[in-house]
């Protein structure tokens, strides 16, 4: 059964979109990630224009991160103060991301930019996670405990504008969280992702936040950054397809339920290794496309009428 998407201006199969939403939702429930980095390339691969894929994905991220944030709210595992500071940076980042996105589409380099950023981040983060989880699995088998990171006093503590974050038990400068928020916000607007896969490692390794508040705080921040990104993509590029978003959300919500259940049956290290493999695989696939000669050297785009 086909449905015509009013903004993307092409018909898609309802079942395909629902299945994609469910599959990505399953993985996102399983690994506790937003899944944007999986969905955006899939949508582009289906023929949805990159701007529509990214803009629509932002609204679907709002839905999944609201669910996530509410679950963590119930467990009281959100650091609102830290979330607010990250959010401040994130909002600014989202706005500049939208601007960069528009600039790149006008000069015809947006597809390339999206691919390069994806390859870079999926590659680096996938490789880091893979190394770490393999070490953890080995350590667990060998009975040795993995090395604890030392050096609690890093360069971060030398920065001014310190603030106390009670929930995270931290007294640090607001500059690093604002910069991290800004960086992730920019990427989120360009890549159509929530950015959890960058935000969470950054919170753990750079800000040294306790692990139990990291995921909740990241969800809290992503809700609002993704909401702003979605609204801005609608205003600036008219690129949010509400019909597509609706189908993706339905599929995603159903898939996530089963994903969460599946995750309960698997050990955490192996789950992480699996996610790392997935990230690397997508990164390699996109990277291969960048370097292999295209089928047709020429591509045609309609010129966007300037407002």
């Amino acid at each position: 059964m086909q449905i015509y998407l009013p903004i993307a201006e092409l018909p898609v199969s309802i079942l395909t979109i629902l299945a994609m939403g469910a599959a990505v939702g399953f993985l996102s429930g399983m690994f506790g990630i937003g899944g944007g980095f999986l969905m955006t390339p899939l949508l582009i691969f289906l023929g949805i224009p990159p701007a529509v894929a990214v803009g629509t994905q932002a609204t679907q991220i709002v839905a999944s991160s609201v669910t996530g944030a509410l679950a963590h709210l119930a467990r009281n595992s959100i650091d609102f103060k830290m979330g607010g500071v990250l959010l401040g940076g994130g909002m600014l980042g989202s706005l500049s991301g939208i601007y960069i996105f528009k600039l790149l589409s006008n000069i015809g380099q947006i597809d390339l930019a999206i691919s390069v950023v994806y390859v870079l981040f999926l590659g680096v983060i996938g490789a880091m996670m893979m190394v770490e989880s393999v070490q953890a699995i080995r350590a667990a088998r060998g009975g040795a405990t993995p090395k604890k990171r030392s050096g609690h006093h890093s360069w971060i503590h030398g920065l001014p504008l310190k603030m106390r974050f009670r929930r995270s038990k931290l007294y640090i400068s607001v500059i690093p969280p604002i910069l991290i928020g800004y960086f992730v916000g920019t990427l989120s607007a360009i890549m159509g992702v929530g950015g959890g896969f960058i935000l969470i490692p950054a919170m753990i390794y750079i800000l040294r936040m306790p692990t139990n508040v990291v995921i909740g705080t990241s969800f809290f921040q992503i809700v609002f950054v993704a909401a702003l990104t979605g609204v801005m993509h609608a205003v600036e590029n008219q690129a949010v397809d509400i019909v597509l978003a609706f189908l993706l959300v339905i599929g995603g919500v159903v898939g996530a339920q089963y994903g969460v259940r599946a995750a309960e049956k698997m050990p955490a290290e192996q789950l992480r290794a699996l996610l790392a493999a997935l990230l690397l695989l997508i990164g390699l696939r996109l990277g291969y496309e960048l370097i292999s000669p295209p089928e047709d050297l020429y591509s045609v785009t309609e010129v966007q009428v300037m407002k």
């Binding site: 015509y4 801005m232 949010v240 509400i242 292999s292 020429y298 045609v300």
Partner: protein, 263 residues
């Protein structure tokens, strides 16, 4: 007074001589409006007509019909990829100011044998004879450059190739069929990815390779119903649209967690 008499005499002369000179076309379309609704997956239009022979006893020899359905024109950019440091990057680009978003041509016989190439070119009949306006070539850094003609032609050919691949440009030699001596019909595919806007269906009647009559009818393709409502809101009220989209998504997220929590 004298001028008026002269004019009416001239008009009278015309009405007498015109029918004797040429045959005439009568055509109609199966639809003048195509609505794109949520179940739109492409459609077909049927064009039918008749040749009214005004010269008694004239025979329908070497009589040809060409049907051209053309979509709204818009500026389009063709970009060429080149390897830069091992990565394929969009490099040079050429922008054409008025490219039809759709171009279908059907004829009773292949175009080459229907009319001499000069005639087709002069009347802009055929995909090769589309005139897209003065192209502007740009290099990767956005500076306007002048491309050698053969390179520029490669860009134009690439545009046609791309449009053909998307099913937006096509020719159907033999796509117009005569039913007997005077009646003819043609069906033209409208794929799902057509641009919306005002189309024209133009019918040419040719005899011995010369156009003797032309008729043109408008065809309007537009979104209808919910599709139209969503599209219009997204363009006329983007802020409200964005807010609604985000709020609906947030509500869906809340609903999901409410259902999950109850279990």
């Amino acid at each position: 007074m004298r001028w008026g008499t002269a004019l009416s005499l001239f008009l009278l002369a015309c009405t007498i001589t015109a029918p004797a000179r040429a045959d005439q076309l009568v055509t109609d379309l199966s639809e003048y409006q195509i609505a794109i609704r949520s179940n739109f997956t492409g459609t077909q239009i049927l064009l039918f007509g008749a040749v009214e022979a005004r010269t008694p006893g004239s025979r329908a020899i070497n009589r040809d019909i060409i049907v051209v359905v053309q979509g709204p024109v818009r500026p389009m950019t063709v970009r060429k990829k080149e390897p830069v440091g091992g990565i394929w990057v969009n490099h040079d680009s050429v922008t054409y100011p008025s490219v039809p978003g759709y171009y279908a041509i059907a004829s009773t016989r292949p175009l080459e044998v229907t009319a001499p190439p000069e005639t087709l070119k002069a009347l802009r009949i055929g995909i090769e004879n589309i005139s897209p306006g003065t192209p502007i070539a740009e290099s990767i850094d956005g500076n306007i450059q002048i491309l050698p003609p053969e390179e520029e032609t490669a860009f134009w050919k690439a545009l046609i190739r791309n449009q053909r691949r998307d099913g937006l440009y096509f020719n159907l030699p033999g796509g117009v069929t005569f039913l007997g001596q005077t009646l003819f019909r043609a069906t033209v595919d409208i794929p799902a990815n057509v641009p919306v806007g005002l189309y024209t269906a133009k019918v040419y009647l040719l005899q011995e390779g010369q156009v003797i009559d032309t008729i043109s009818s408008p065809l309007y393709i537009d979104k209808r119903g919910l599709e139209r409502f969503i599209y219009r809101m997204a363009h006329s009220d983007p802020l409200l649209y964005g807010l609604v989209a985000v709020l609906v998504a947030a509500f869906a997220g809340w609903l999901a967690s409410a259902i999950m929590g109850r279990r």
